[in-house]
Amino acid sequence: MSSLSSWIGVLSDPVKTKTYISHVKKVEPEIGAFLEFDPERARQDSLEHGPLHGVPFAVKDILAVKGFSLTCGSRILSGLVSPYTATVVEKLQQAGAVVVGKTNMDEFGMGSSTDTSAYKRTNNPWDTDRVAGGSSGGSAASVAAGMVPFALGSDTGGSVRQPAAFCGVYGLKPTYGVVSRYGLVAYASSLDVVGLCAASVGIAEEVFAFMRGYDERDNTSVEYTASSENLPGAVRRIGVVSGSLGVEPAVEKTYRQTQEALRTLGYEVVPVELTMMEYYAPVYYTIATAEASANLARYTGIRYGYRPEFAENPEELVRKARSEGFGEEVKLRILLGTYVLRSGFQDQYYQRAQRIRTAIRRDFDQAFQKADVILFPVFPTQAFKRGGDGLDAFQQKVADRFTTAANLAGIPALSFPAAVENGLPVGMQLMAPPFGEDLLFQVARKFTDVFSPPQAPHYISLWS
């Protein structure tokens, strides 16, 4: 298993730095994980003697890093250079880790393939004809291809966990509020969290410890109190859902096998009833698009980013900047969000979704009476191909039905590699009550006793 210790000091040593950069330059052209790669640019912002000194890490291009671009994968933010650094990035820099670049993503986090990026395609390190997942596809691929031990991402409805599952790495979506969102470009503010992709469960756990905590610059952030402090003892009961899940055979098979494996490891596998499951995705898309339409109203082409060649007046400038600067998926979500918030339609859509969100939360509260953590698939398919054989934009949204639950309920979830089928990884996810991240790490670590996740073929890390 990959550990952080082999990466410590890599960028503090000139010889190792050179080897590292030439390794990335060899691998990256096939993958396309980075929108910008420059290990020197922010090096002086990292402490020289922290516990993570010289460890390279990548940052999704939706988090601000001073001196780097901040495009969110969108043309409308082309040319924007961030004048400041996100709190979560600063915390890692204070621990000594070094930002090496910004990773590709679906435009504003809206997508499941990273193909809605206005800039480039990111390929899956397991099979470069397939997508890396999304929206944090660049972050997941950079880890899977051994270019960094961990990468930051954001997860609004599964955007860290799904690409992690597609690329065979770990993906953590923390409890809402435990990681500051200061410096994270907003998509859907009541759902957005900063998470990470990591090469091993140990790395995920170690890095998460540096990321979390209250930040006075984010009024929704909270101090982190590990649930093990309130709930002594180890995880005993793991909740599972029964019946057909309507997923690909490889995913269905892995879900069953994972339950079996957990049973052999001594856990009690108990059925839980989640009665609201079929409403996760429609409720999620109603709330997320509503919040997105408000958050994306700030892009006008006036103060920063893309500006059209010519406009008669300020209003035309704004309309042209938005019409030329946003891609189709973003326009669709802005239109939907604007519509569901319009007077006369709010009761039917937005308010209704918020009330069903309460029922979903209560459903989980009840399920956690019976089980310490819950096991779910991440996505109904493995990494898909581009074009006709893949999933269209609508199918991708419906497929978010397993990941959106944790965002709606505000609870932590960890996707972990659980099998390799058809030469591709299959990920499963564990969910816990708020602040239960340590429970997720505990079970995922134990699971490596029966399944040690292989690295993507041909992309063995230099330092493992």
Binding site: V222, K320, E328, K331
Partner: protein
């Protein structure tokens, strides 16, 4: 959604849609609204809305200014600029 509603919605969102784009988005919006209509099955009687993932008390802080060090870097991002002013087309 009737076609006029989409035009109104697009205008509210400051989006100009070309004819082809309009057709395409009309189809996609309709498909999603139909998907949203699944929510009509749920009995929401007595359920309060969840507006926030973690229910917390309202938080306040002192109304104080905090100096920002990156003002010049911020202004440098303006697409068109004269000194400390951002240039936009004439307001008539």
């Amino acid at each position: 959604m009737n076609p006029e509603e989409l035009r109104i919605t697009a205008a509210l969102a400051y989006l100009d849609l070309g004819e082809e784009e309009y057709e395409e988005l009309m189809r996609a919006v309709d498909q999603m609204l139909e998907y949203f209509s699944k929510m009509m099955e749920v009995d929401i009687e007595g359920l309060p809305p969840t507006t926030h993932a973690m229910v917390r008390e309202n938080r306040t802080r002192a109304d104080q200014t905090v100096p920002f060090s990156g003002i010049e870097a911020l202004l440098e991002n303006a697409p068109e600029r004269e000194d400390r002013f951002i240039v936009i087309p004439n307001i008539l």
